[in-house]
Symmetry: C2
């Protein structure tokens, strides 16, 4: 996970939002669908793996998504919410993101895995900053760095060091991933008032949303450098 | 997991086989490939699920396979063996089993999940009975009932109660699953002398192998009854 700025402490923000804010259930449901969608996409894209080791790495990452899903399902259940109907509301945005970013090579699949995972984590951790402690703890637990995507860095760096063409191609690909992620995030916010309320209830308010998209682009740039794509 | 007969205690058998028997690495490698193959097959077959809940159940089962794989990889690593090259030797038998038992409906996929999982568990637990305690513990740990396939029972029973045609069709399907599993198990034994040595080194010797295939058919019949397919 890249370093991130924390605009305010959990203690400050906890004063603003209560744990039973309706946006909290929506956030957990969105995250839950994201985990299941990522599970199936990773296993699909693993078909492009050149060898058994690659397929195993992708399967391990996919399995980690389901462990995260279990945490979210339990958290929603504790709040009296049935996860499946709640998460179904986020199907279209997440399926659209994956449909519009279907990789055509193994390297594109690797970059998507790494960047997509990190972007999602940034997005959710930023939201966690404005949540009450107990809710933020669930979000941070789910999205804690598991180290599963580290195998990607070595493989992508090796490929782009030896081929300038691969490097330009993957740099373009990663910009497309960022663009589609931002587009879908905006759709999700436009269609789910409770989530917007949740974000706006934070101490930064509306200005914070604009800053958020700026920060997302900066952390994305850091990650491109990590992969040798800057 | 069905009840099983334990032909002899671990203490008796431990006298016969040492933990560094070369068949132990082979057994762990075979199990490891089985877990990864099952992971990808479950996620493939989940495409036939009629709804999100079915896809989530299949994804949870697949994720459990990868947790088992991690245990086996660690056990092999502790024995100085690199899991990936070791497991590759079992690719053909396991891929053949899955290729020859590709379900064509969601109910067939469910029955395959339940029966295939249980057959594999029987097979490996029988072998565990002739292993030294420390090795048997790894095998039993990996194959311990996780309860993930219990959702299958209700869904299959409901379908076969209302349709005699489904019942005959799935009963036939489950006999085919058993037949292919036994065929592939025999291929594996024929091609891997260390595994045969491991089984024959047990107190029952050759007679035990014949008894084993008998018991496999009996426990399979119990499971058919559980699914309403007797």
């Amino acid at each position: 996970m890249s370093a991130m700025t924390a605009p305010q402490s959990a203690a400050e923000s906890a004063a603003n939002i209560s744990a039973d804010h309706p946006g909290v259930n929506e956030l957990f449901a969105l995250l839950a669908y994201g985990e299941v969608a990522a599970f199936y996409r990773l296993t699909d894209e693993a078909r492009m793996a050149p060898d058994l080791r690659g397929r195993i790495n992708m399967a391990s990452m996919a399995a980690a998504e389901m462990a995260h899903y279990d945490l979210l399902r339990d958290a929603l259940q504790a709040r009296g919410v049935d996860v499946v109907p709640a998460m179904s509301r986020y199907a279209s945005a997440l399926e659209n993101y994956h449909r519009l970013t279907t990789p055509s090579t193994w390297l594109e699949a690797l970059v998507k895995t790494y960047v997509g995972d990190a972007l999602a984590a940034d997005f959710y951790l930023e939201i966690a900053d404005v949540l009450p402690d107990e809710v933020a703890a669930v979000v941070r637990g789910v999205l804690s760095e598991t180290g599963h995507s580290q195998f990607v860095v070595a493989e992508v760096r090796a490929a782009v060091t030896t081929s300038g063409r691969q490097r330009s191609r993957l740099a373009l690909w990663s910009r497309r991933l960022l663009g589609e992620a931002i587009t879908q995030a905006q759709y999700v916010l436009a269609e789910h008032d409770e989530l917007v309320d949740l974000v706006l209830a934070g101490p930064g308010g509306l200005g914070q949303v604009a800053d958020f998209f700026d920060r997302l682009q900066r952390t994305h740039a850091d990650r491109m450098a990590e992969l040798g794509l800057d």
